[in-house]
Subunit: 238 residues, 6 copies
């Protein structure tokens, strides 16, 4: 029995609120239950140094958590003077996930930075961030298309979304909340495209090692969940 009373294959309520920022070229607040992430896309007319004169653009991401997004207040990273290892891991993952569905040459020599800031955390912040970041990126590209800068269909080749699955109380469950996450034996994050291709898999045994069969079960759950998320993304941008 899950603490939330959800079924093993039942995700939390997922919503996207678009155009939440007056300034950003694309933005949304994505909610996976009590996990709320603000995603903004910022267009800059330049690329990183290593792409200068390559004709290619870049899509990157930064991730942050507000100090009291969590049950206990965490030290503000800006005050601590550096981003922790977990933050860096996550923002690198978000960037890679988005670039997997972007044609950087079609984008041209521009950079889009997606900022994913967790307003409230209840497990699964990185998967919510990726799923919402796609919406912000899409809206930024629409903004550019409206100004004749790109063709969205040329740049954005597919959807990308992510979900966590894990083994909690000996059962495979989808979309773990904080209570489940902190007690899970195995924790896995999956990033997939709209057409079902896999972009990233991260599986970690928190307690005892897991088997291939268990992992296959988690992936099956993820596949169904991500298909649902992609459907919701489609409705959100319709």
């Amino acid at each position: 029995m899950r603490p939330s009373g959800r079924k093993t294959d039942q995700m939390r309520k997922v919503t996207f609120e678009r155009n939440v920022s007056k300034h950003a070229e694309g933005s949304c607040v994505v909610k996976f239950g009590d996990t709320h992430v603000l995603c903004t896309a910022s267009l800059e007319e330049k690329t990183p140094p290593w792409l200068r004169n390559s004709g290619k653009g870049w899509v990157t991401a930064e991730y942050g958590m507000l100090p009291r997004a969590t049950g206990e207040r965490m030290k503000r990273e800006a005050a601590a003077g550096k981003q922790g290892g977990r933050t860096q891991e996550i923002q690198r993952l978000i960037g890679r996930s988005l670039r997997a569905v972007v044609d950087l040459t079609a984008l041209g020599e521009k950079q889009i930075t997606i900022d994913c800031d967790v307003l409230q955390a209840d497990g699964g912040t990185r998967t919510a961030a990726i799923t919402g970041a796609w919406i912000a990126l899409h809206d930024c590209l629409r903004w550019m298309e409206a100004r004749g800068m790109v063709k969205v269909e040329k740049v954005l080749k597919d959807h990308v979304a992510a979900i966590s699955c894990g083994i909690f109380a000996s059962q495979s469950v989808i979309d773990l909340d904080y209570l489940e996450d902190s007690a899970a034996e195995t924790d896995a994050n999956f990033v997939m495209t709209g057409s079902g291709g896999i972009v990233e898999i991260q599986g970690t045994a928190e307690g005892k090692p897991f088997t291939e069969e268990e992992f296959a079960g988690l992936m099956a759950l993820a596949r169904t969940g991500i298909a649902e998320l992609v459907e919701m993304q489609k409705q959100a941008i319709a």
Copy 2:
């Protein structure tokens, strides 16, 4: 004529949305027009080292701006590795303003940290932050009172709120938005209590120096505006 069409003594629409955080002991999103600040209050059962065994508690604040809260994306302070001078100035101001209406002995050896994170900026983020921080602090104290830890009336001696005033296009105006702020000849921030006492005054000539008469005009505007803000705080917590 103000860019927004407001009258010289007309503040933007101000709203407080309380209890926006599942985790924080007190929280609100305060909006002064398009300036939106998330304020959370976090209670810790400890004081800073210099107050150990003094019987006194502490109220402090931290301030941050999401990278794309502004028209152009700013570098994330956590990535830059330090908080800028402006950030530090503002968070020191918020902390002082709140402490001016708190009886630290009545609070006891506890620390309340108010995090003020600007989700969207359109001028006046520090004054919105102070005004909203008071709500978050109040709600945190109510939370403590419900658990028998303090008497709110003993700890929180008064309201505190803040507003900016300035000379824009040769006219004294209240609650400057970004367009006005960036073109103002004089910019002043006032922090006052519910009973009309002054807690902080900061006045800066951006262009040519200002006169005592001009400054008195700004203060008169501020006095009326802050009285309105305090009234709104009262309604918000009613």
Copy 3:
């Protein structure tokens, strides 16, 4: 009764010692009683990036305190690895104050940096720094004038000086020393020009909030004091 025996409207003895540095284009040691600040002006043939090709120059300031300028030794900021919030607040204030009386276009694409280093502190370091920085800036401009680079009268439009006032033992007093400063109920800093314009006002209630009347009293004290300081600046450069 003030600890120093001074009258409420009596400043400490103020002196300027010019040309104290063999290297700097302008320099002075300013003393407000036991508060001693070394101010040096350094000319550089470049501007900050945001002013390139604008035809404008820049005047900026940095502030520091020697570790044992104070009663108890403070940690050296270079060893701590960052400048504290107070340091940043003060150096931003000094820079703004000086720029208020400088015509940056008449200066041309050059940068003058005023370093204000507190050799000994006894309250009022920021106001002494501003008052002395003006002398260093003036002397730097004279140095430039002697080389045909600028006309001092075109660049330096007015004097600027600063003084602190506060409410100590229920009385409004001028130019607080450390003993008064640490016990003051209200503390205010005023920066004004030679012609009486106000450049900066910062007023803070340390204990209970203050009234508009009290603040007006502090401003009146400041106005007289700053007029005296400007007179002393005139004599110093005569």
Copy 4:
């Protein structure tokens, strides 16, 4: 055809040189072909703060690359003033992998730090590091056992080893060297125990997304390779 002429399921030559450090309680240089990692285990009689008085110990890892371990010299992280995101990701992975086979309660309130420093890199540094770190950890525990501090069999529950697999030139290959790694379409790292349990899976699409079938192929390769590595570990400590 692989650049090295290896077969798709052929790992590079793997060797362990034990006891390479005069000082460390356990140490080895592990080589996967031209990838050489020095692993040292350091015992400290203390635990991290969050485990004080818990009766539990801790095993952690740090990872570094000498500046010229790579084809082009990289900036020294100590000189840069921080560890990069990749470094932090890898050292967190090594620590988690080792803790998966350690009984922290049987270890008692001690900390073992495994330093993995890459002397020369040619792809697969993290998998070589994990595989060698196990040897260093084992030898440290033997050192402790010889002094009556622990029973190795109680603390170290199993072997752990790691290998990378990927899709290179449309073929699934094991143990990618740098040339393959930088051109691979998909890159995956697997960490498994001696009894075949999975500890960590990380799969990343570098170019186009991959399929479940492709991933299953990589995992099959990894399973065989890790079994070989565990066998080599057994011989190394025999």
Copy 5:
């Protein structure tokens, strides 16, 4: 011919101004010609962690240069966020030099920190700093003796002073100023005690290597110069 017209064995005019700080337990401004260093001694009733409960005290030093102490303004180390290698080298040297003449057990569990801040630089700042630091340390110990805390003669076993010598224009000269220092072929710093013992020798070939005979010549010059400096220290504290 030396740029200053001095003879090869002629030091610059050396002066000590004692008691320049209202706050420090000991202080002096030492001048070697145009090189001016403010030395303050700060007493703290604690020792570094590694000496706790050892019965021993500690003497340490910090060194800094004001940004415009030099011909061209240097970046402020506090703003740069770290102390450079040269600064660290020098402050370690000053500390070692002073401890060579201090009986740390006779000092007892206290720490004296000598801050050496260069107000104006014209070569030889480290040797001036050591020579002046001894005066500040001495005066701090006298301050302590007056309060019954130590016996100066027990703690301070001897004088210590320092001088630079070098080969300039093929001649061995003493006490190089900046012009000589920047053109010297060989540069050496000597730290010696009042009784003629050597505490530190640092010799560096700036251009071509030097011979033992040349080095012996520099040491002979240094020996005479340091004897003079010690004599001046004796007069200064008389």
Copy 6:
């Protein structure tokens, strides 16, 4: 009697293993007994900013110690976020020593960085590093010569090597190991060229000051030792 049983003028066994790095243009592992340092030379086609368009190149060095190179594990400098004072002193010394035998104009506008990383420490790491760095530098220049970039004989004017000497148990001894180093009364490092010129001398009294005669004794020991080291370098590159 020395702890190692060596005679007072007997160095430890010294070996050079060349070409230890697949990537670096020059490399060696130098061993002075149990002190092992990996030296790699990296060629870059650029110079530091201050040498641009000067026609001159640059040779510099960086130094690091692996965390468990020592008897007790030291904090990793990359994790600490800065290089300590000792590290900076040593790497500056290595760079100066190498440049003393290099004709930077003959090198041309290129930079060679020598990384000296201590794999295992037992005293004398800086002298081993200098001695081994010369080999790595030489081999890098040979690599360049093979590509027609330089003439080795034009660039590398002489050998350079280094040794420590000290007074241990009242006797002058050469090449101190850790046990001797930590108990020595005087510790000196000498850097000399193949033709006997002195490049650097650093002598420090750890306990009581030393005499000129004692220092002369140390230098005599060093001269013989360095001559031997240069002979070994010659054999190593033969």
